[in-house]
Symmetry: C2
């Protein structure tokens, strides 16, 4: 029952930080960007966080109007419209952070990877591409629509994907940001595999800012 501490600063940035500046808060928001999740899903996506802390952050975010709770076969948490407006902010922040010289090793959550794709999408590299993809990462399904310079990622499988890529976040990450060879990778590609390979090239590998 902690009263959340405020900067007491009327600036918009400070007020934003009053709401989403506490530790783990923004990562919880990240995990909710593409759809509702349960408490347990959040816990396992955010490795190393105590249930205690998740619980408190959720309470604060709900109180602030960023997150809502619903009952849908158990409780689920989801972003409010205002919370959803953090999406572009997180994409921009992720784009900036991807250039950090520090590179922690660890697992990437499926949702974090999706934000990373949005952050690194290069419109010019997709100027002549128009395709719909289904990404399967574990039990999660995402739709990725590339439409000549624009990208839209949503949760849930698209109706008629041109290609389906099934793998795990780590492998997809490598295929997009690292070594792009498909051979031998634990990936299952169906549909138009040329288009699938094309997808891996519309994202830029972030270049670290020089120290």
């Amino acid at each position: 029952m902690t009263a959340l501490r405020s900067y007491g600063d009327p600036c918009g940035i400070a007020r934003a930080l009053d709401v989403i500046g506490e530790r783990w808060a923004l990562l919880i928001v990240r995990e909710l960007l593409f759809g509702p999740k349960r408490f347990t899903d959040l816990r396992e996506a955010l490795t190393g966080v105590s249930p205690n802390v998740v619980s408190q952050r959720l309470r604060e975010l709900v109180a602030a109007g960023v997150v809502g709770r619903r009952k849908e076969g158990g409780r689920v948490y989801e972003l409010t419209p205002w919370g959803l407006d953090l999406h572009p902010v997180l994409v921009a922040l992720g784009k900036w952070g991807a250039r950090s010289p520090a590179r922690p090793k660890g697992r990437l959550s499926a949702d974090a990877l999706m934000v990373a794709l949005e952050s690194t999408f290069v419109p010019a590299q997709a100027a002549d591409l128009r395709a719909t993809y289904e990404l399967r990462l574990g039990h999660r399904r995402f739709s990725v629509e590339v439409d000549r310079g624009a990208i839209a990622i949503g949760s849930g499988a698209p109706r008629r994907p041109d290609a389906v890529v099934a793998t795990d976040p780590g492998t997809l990450r490598r295929l997009v940001f690292g070594d792009r060879r498909l051979a031998g990778a634990p990936v299952d590609v169906r549909g138009d595999s040329r288009l699938a390979r094309r997808l891996f090239r519309v994202f830029a590998r972030p270049r670290p800012a020089e120290a």
Copy 2:
């Protein structure tokens, strides 16, 4: 000599937070957006922060490559190119935070106000406006250039401003976001006062997200 704690998450957002997620860090960046500052300037702009914390944050930000230190008649801190790339992120975050239902009362720093202007600028409301302003807030000088749908704010006075507005941050804030009457306000307007008044109308008053 604290090793900064990391989320240990390779996601760009988490890596960004590793660098600028600690308390006060982003507000220090905000204060440096429009130019270098001294330790003491930072202390007084950020009301309620201990010198202790400013010192530690600066050390961390310097170590991370966000801030640089120079000697220029005393030490000054300034954003590195990478740090400067946080500018659009902060503008977006400020835009979001300005809609928070919570409204702390307190003083607005001059730099915070400048970011607020950028955050709330409405291109459509300036479609037919082209003017250069000088804003004087205490001893600080800023240039504001509005060029038909675009705004650019810089520190330091412009060469040939169309209008000069001298006041304090609180008053300017009211003139822009609140009651726009000039009468009786502690403001000194010189040059084209019609253009000056016009400036107050190219920004939107943020509407709070419904709780």
